[in-house]
């Protein structure tokens, strides 16, 4: 395998084929709990990505010097330290956002996706790869969050980008798009059941897209797929 195909695998794996939220079904708690608006989703997604990158790289660096019996406590320790630091910094520099994401910042620690990557990827690969993996796993997770957040916000409140000011400052307040005027909102979408059902529908959508891809690939299999770089 060339370097590039390896990296490409990491990237597509993170974003699509092994998407932590859609495929591995990890990190569901923050995913479902925070995704009732697009902005919340985006915020948590970015925070998670940051944590994932830092923790993956750190774990990868120290992977050779930790005894296996205590690897879990150590991974957890690393992640917890990273998250606490990020939390403190958010408190210092994005206070409003911090207030919105509330309890879920410390809970990033236990986002299973993070420890999952540490255990199954970072602890077995070199730091550059771990970095890339962390980054794209995080972005893939963010993608899922944002999709789910948009769907739930649109159905539940009829808006998009509400509360953007929390994250992007006062100027972003005008970003809010009201899709339906006078929409009383389908409450279910922003309540817990809506989160589950929404994610279920998104996963089904992804599955049927995969079927379509497969079909197309079969139809066009005459042409070589990999064309250089």
């Amino acid at each position: 395998m060339t370097m590039w195909t390896q990296y490409r695998q990491i990237i597509t794996g993170g974003l699509w084929t092994n998407n932590q939220a859609f495929v591995a079904l990890l990190g569901l708690c923050p995913l479902l709990a925070v995704s009732n608006t697009l902005i919340n989703s985006l915020g948590l997604g970015l925070a998670t990505t940051m944590t994932l990158v830092c923790s993956s790289v750190t774990v990868s660096v120290i992977r050779k010097i930790i005894p296996s019996e205590i690897r879990l406590p150590i991974f957890v320790l690393v992640i917890a330290a990273v998250v606490t630091a990020i939390e403190l910094m958010m408190k210092a520099y994005f206070f409003e956002l911090y207030k919105v994401l509330g309890i879920f910042i410390p809970l990033i620690v236990t986002n299973c996706a993070i420890i999952g990557r540490a255990e199954s990827y970072a602890s077995k690969h070199s730091p550059p790869k771990a970095f890339l993996d962390g980054l794209f796993m995080g972005l893939g997770f963010t993608l899922a969050l944002v999709l789910l957040g948009s769907v739930r916000e649109i159905l539940g409140a009829g808006t998009l980008f509400s509360d953007a000011a929390l994250m992007f400052g006062e100027s972003a307040a005008s970003w809010k798009i009201v899709l339906f005027e006078d929409y009383s909102g389908m409450l279910l979408a922003i309540l817990p059941p809506g989160a589950f059902i929404g994610l279920g529908l998104l996963i089904a959508l992804k599955n049927s897209m995969d079927f379509q891809f497969k079909l197309h690939r079969k139809v066009f299999s005459v042409q070589p797929l990999d064309k250089g770089n």
């Binding site: 009732n36 010097i65 930790i66 005894p67 019996e69 205590i70 406590p73 150590i74 320790l77 690393v78 917890a80 330290a81 606490t84 630091a85 403190l88 910094m89 408190k91 210092a92 520099y93 206070f95 207030k99 539940g156 409140a157 909102g185 409450l187 922003i190 309540l191």
Partner: protein, 210 residues
């Protein structure tokens, strides 16, 4: 046996070392950002409080002019920190943190600003778990409902009228969710009762300990 102990000792050392490094790092971040965090929290508090009274109606350091009070009716357990507003050292108003208990889902935390005369000048919700899209209409960002309290006092409105319309009072409920407004009206009424009972003491300069 001995081998086991040696190994565990080794692991303890590794874990301890990692702990020292990790905690050291966190502590460093903590101390580096501490000042900003405190500043942020203070600023947030000031912003929150300043929205409750018109600018210019007071001139004291509202964040530090507080009195602690133990009042089990208003908050469970802890002493409340009541903020005082003064102009030229003369009392103007107080802001009392309250908890509304009869909400749809959990406690609703409120700030109630009451002027020296016993008139409610503003009420704000600081935290709640009501249903988004339904119970959250009490947030000022979502609807103006919470302003119904503005200007209300026992003088203008007899105590028995402090109810939502459905229960025979004067306050609007929002359709589809009566429970939340009912709880808030009760809580505000309770707060005004408390204020009326302790009007003088609330403005005393020294902190009162119960």
């Amino acid at each position: 046996m001995r081998e086991g102990f040696q190994r565990s000792l080794f692991m303890a050392l590794v874990l301890g070392a990692f702990a020292i490094v990790a905690i050291g790092m966190v502590m460093w971040v903590f101390y580096a950002s501490k000042a900003r965090i405190i500043e942020n929290e203070r600023a947030a508090l000031v912003k929150q409080l300043s929205e409750l009274l018109p600018a210019g109606s007071y001139d004291n350091d509202i964040v530090n002019d507080t009195v602690n009070w133990i009042e089990p009716d208003l908050a469970v357990g802890n002493p409340l920190t009541i903020f005082r507003f003064r102009k030229n050292t003369r009392p103007v108003a107080v802001v009392i943190p309250t908890v509304a208990l009869g909400g749809y889902n959990g406690k609703i935390k409120l700030l109630v600003a009451i002027t020296k005369e016993g008139v409610v000048s503003a009420v704000r919700v600081t935290s709640h778990h009501e249903t988004p899209g339904l119970g959250d209409k009490m947030e000022i960002e979502r609807s103006g409902w919470i302003n119904v309290f503005k200007g209300k006092s026992f003088k203008a409105l007899p105590e028995s009228q402090w109810k939502v319309k459905r229960d025979g009072g004067v306050f609007d409920q929002f359709t589809g969710a009566t429970i939340t407004p009912r709880a808030i009206v009760q809580a505000v009424k309770k707060t005004v009762v408390f204020f009326e009972a302790n009007r003088e003491a609330l403005f005393l300069p020294e902190q009162i300990k119960d």
